[in-house]
Amino acid sequence: MTDFEIMILLAILRVGDEAYGVPIAREIEKTAGRTVLLGAVYAVLARLDAMGLVASTVGDPTPQRGGRAKRFFRVTRAGLRAVLDTQRALIALWTNVPALEGGRR
């Protein structure tokens, strides 16, 4: 999984029930401090959906969105497992790396 895919999964988990394109992008911008293109968010969401890591439901159309519906995303059980596996792998890789401990051996 790419770092952006992991970020999107974590952002969905952090946002909760109101996770659609805009709040997901905002959460990443706020926490990771990087500008996010909504098109990139949707491209990754489509990929995660195809991998079975997220699922989506369509909300009601609203006038603020020109009559278009929101698509809400949630992380599936497989997605949660993938996030935890990545976390474990990264923590394992992080430990006992002298360069990351100020060069101490």
């Binding site: 098109g39 990139a40 491209a43 489509a46 990929r47 969105r65 020109g66 278009r68 519906a69």
Partner: protein, 197 residues
Amino acid sequence: MKAQHRTQLMAEWLLNRVAGGNTSESLVGDLVEEHHRGRSSLWFWTQVLAAMVIAAGHEIRAHRLAAISGIVTGFASLWCFAVIATRLLTSAGFPHAVNWRWPHMLVLFVIGFTYTILSGWIVGSVHRTHRTTAVFSFLASVLIVPVLELPLLYWLNRSVFSSLAPISLMLIATVIGAPVAILIGGFSDRPRVQKPV
């Protein structure tokens, strides 16, 4: 208000053809929501264009064979149309390229624009299942051409560069006219259908 609605519909039309119905509706809805919250029109269109490029990039990476086929089909049809147009213009007594003036260039631009639309249409029609891949690969390759063409032209005939007008027109035609024509032709019929999720 009407202009804003037209802008939204146009963005949706473009994204619908490149990214598919479900994604484009949600994405355009998000963009409209942000626009209402005070984001500029420049921001809106930058996001739409970026979304199109991203979606096309994913499609091209996923279907490389269709990408190559799109480029070959596109250039083959462009070449055929160019040969036919040149023959017709020559038989109609159109002057040689070195004697072109503005009216001649305009005629040539209109003819070139028309046959580029037709080439885009052929690419789109031949590759119905991977239309986005084929059309965008063709478009990208057409944009790369002047990068290769200009140094070659300079090497072959430096005198062409003595006047800026023909080179500027060629650049405008290639960088703006050709992509617009390919998009119009390539996505002129029905958008790709996606199953509702």
